[in-house]
């Protein structure tokens, strides 16, 4: 029971290796082993979160070496929350993906699922670790596995992915430079140790440069506004089930690293007093929300519209981080949770439409509402939540963000958050109108379409009902899980 923080990434790693070994001999056993690994990690993550809620933060020392000698894993409210979120979305996406992979890329199933498990091991390692260099190692594990599975498929995906490879490697190497400078200045790589030593070397220029490099590196990984260039092409051309897995969780883990740096390593009064990094993040995010929402309105391809919408939503999270006060941080964390559910649902719906009807251009969606009832119903729920109408969960995260803006006295940001909901409404209701109001002009692909098969429809419906449930119980989540995180920093 005390070994919980290690079992989560280790079980995923072991099942990746076992799945690859078994898969070279028998192809049909790969999917059950994948499901077994993810279910083990999800159950362990839920048990870990319950233990943290009862007992407080858990510290785990790898190899028995205590810090600052060894690598430390920390399971506290923030990491427990993120681990449960990532594993739950991963489970639903993997259940969704089987039919889609069998239709699109049947001969590459074995390496595909092994790489999915490796990527999930990397993501949980990033979330749980308390050591700065260990975070770089797991960041690259997750990123390399993600590059590989995104390049499988048609002939436009590799061009999009090579750009992501180059920009993602620059981001990770900038993070490595930042960690190097922190090591030169403090002599330690452990997050808690560095947080203890930092107030003693307050005016050091090395720390300022380190902070800048880490923020820019994670902004590249997170697709913050001017550094988001790789994201629309990648989300448009990759296989649909792969995007449904990666889009809700990859960029969120980048935002998690920024929050971890803010909350545990560079405490907020250091960040706001020495170099106004959070102010710059906030302004870039505000411009990004407006610019990306306008770009999303201009798209005809459904997946490309969802990709620009994803950049705008991650800019909401960055706006919450950039405010650097309690309500802003609660809004950012709640928006990570809500957006994972909303975008997971939307990308799975996009994959379902492609699976059944082979369509991805919005003008061709005319009249689909009559034929794919459950799918379009789930799309309506997700669209309402993205716009921000209660009781769907999207309203509550934007509410906390606006409260944070008012607390910081920054009226421009509050106006941006509210006005961008109108922009979201434009591009989502345009699709809703095409789907429900416009009569289908007897297009044979539309009339022959029906709801995706049960294996693909069930995760969509679970996510859609999760959107409503999260909206109803959001007060419980905020008081039990998110407020202890914020009280660490402020």
């Amino acid at each position: 029971m005390a070994q919980l923080p290690a079992i989560i990434p280790v079980s995923l790693l072991l099942s990746a290796f076992v799945a690859f070994l078994v898969g070279t001999f028998s192809r049909s056993l790969v999917y059950p082993i994948t499901l077994l690994g993810i279910v083990t990690a999800l159950v362990t993550a839920v048990m870990g979160l319950i233990r943290v809620l009862q007992d407080g933060a858990q510290h785990y020392y790898f190899g028995g070496w205590p810090p600052p000698l060894g690598i430390e894993y920390v399971l506290d409210h923030l990491s427990g929350f993120m681990t449960v979120l990532v594993m739950f979305i991963a489970l639903l996406s993997v259940i969704y993906s089987r039919r889609s992979f069998l239709q699109e890329v049947p001969e590459k199933i074995v390496p595909l699922y092994s790489l999915v498990l490796l990527m999930l091991a990397g993501l949980t390692g990033i979330i749980l670790t308390g050591d700065l260099f260990n975070l770089y190692v797991f960041l690259e594990i997750a990123s390399l596995a993600a590059y590989a599975i995104m390049a499988i498929g048609n002939d436009k995906a590799p061009v999009a992915v090579i750009r992501y490879v180059i920009m993602g490697t620059i981001g990770a190497c900038f993070y490595l430079l930042g960690v190097g400078f922190i090591y030169f200045a403090t002599g330690s790589l452990n997050m808690g140790d560095v947080a203890r030593i930092l107030p003693g070397i307050y005016g050091s220029r090395l720390i300022v440069v380190a902070m800048t490099f880490i923020v820019i590196g994670m902004a590249l990984k997170m697709a913050l506004f001017p550094l988001h260039i790789w994201l629309p092409d990648v989300y448009t051309y990759s296989p649909s089930a792969v995007v449904a897995l990666i889009a809700p969780i990859m960029t969120k883990v980048g935002a998690y690293v920024l929050i971890r740096m803010l909350v545990s390593v560079f405490l907020p009064n250091y960040l706001t007093s020495v170099l106004p990094v959070t102010l710059m993040i906030g302004w870039l995010a505000a411009v990004g929300i407006v610019a990306m929402s306008i770009m999303a309105i201009a798209q005809k391809d459904f997946r490309r519209m969802l990709a620009y919408s994803s950049v705008a939503q991650i800019c909401y999270v960055a706006l919450g981080i950039g405010l650097a006060n309690p309500f802003g941080l609660i809004g950012a964390l709640l928006h990570i949770l809500n957006h994972a559910f909303m975008k997971g649902c939307l990308f799975q719906i996009s994959g379902g439409i492609r699976y059944r009807a082979g369509l991805w251009q919005i003008p061709q969606f005319a009249g689909l509402g009559r034929h794919m009832r459950w799918t379009m119903g789930a799309f309506t729920v997700a669209a309402i939540s993205m716009v921000g109408i209660p009781p769907a969960c999207g309203f509550f995260s934007k509410w906390y963000l606006v409260l944070g803006c008012i607390d910081a006295g920054n009226w421009v940001f509050a106006v941006v958050v509210v006005a961008s909901s109108l922009l979201n409404a434009v591009y989502f209701f345009r699709v809703l109108e095409k789907v429900y109001m416009v009569p289908s002009n007897n297009d044979s692909t539309v009339t022959a379409a029906s709801d995706p098969p049960g294996e693909m429809l069930a995760p969509i419906l679970v996510l859609a009902s999760g959107i409503i449930i999260l909206g109803v119980i959001n007060a419980v989540i905020v008081t039990q899980i998110l407020e202890p995180i914020v009280s660490l920093a402020f």
Partner: protein, 143 residues
């Protein structure tokens, strides 16, 4: 690139050198405790031995001894040795990769740590050997 090299001297010299390369790679792996070396370095040297054979003798001649799937299988077995060593430590009551808890009879805690590092280095050497060989094989595959 993967056809047999036409010159006799080159192919003969490569065939003579490769066993020594394997031996040197094994030496570097084992002596990582006492000098520069260890799993990654030894694995790379061993992989470069097989790659030299593939480059100089051609693919047809080397497939009998080093089949195309060898890289994948040996690599995964090596990584499983690494992970399983850590898992045995958890099952025996300690933390992950705490070699003092490995159930080897007749040794003190410090000696078990010494031996545990050796197991892990062998696993890493096999893993790196397999991965580099499979990278080379998949990059030079036809079509």
């Amino acid at each position: 690139m993967i056809a047999k090299y036409r010159d006799l001297i080159v192919s003969l010299a490569c065939r003579l050198m490769v066993p020594f390369m394997f031996l040197f790679g094994f030496y570097v792996t084992m002596f990582g405790h006492y000098g520069p070396g260890g799993g990654f370095q030894g694995g790379t040297i061993m992989a470069s031995g097989v790659i030299l054979l593939r480059l100089s003798l051609g693919r047809q001649a080397t497939i009998k001894k080093f089949p195309l799937e060898l890289g994948h299988i040996v690599g995964v077995i090596g990584l499983l040795i690494y992970s399983a060593t850590g898992l045995i430590s958890i099952l025996a009551g300690g933390e992950y990769l705490n070699y003092a808890y490995l159930p080897i009879p007749g040794m003190s805690g410090a000696e078990r740590q010494h031996l545990g590092i050796l197991f892990v280095e062998i696993g890493v050497a096999l893993g790196v050997f397999g991965v580099l060989l499979s990278i080379f094989d998949s990059l030079t595959k036809e079509g």
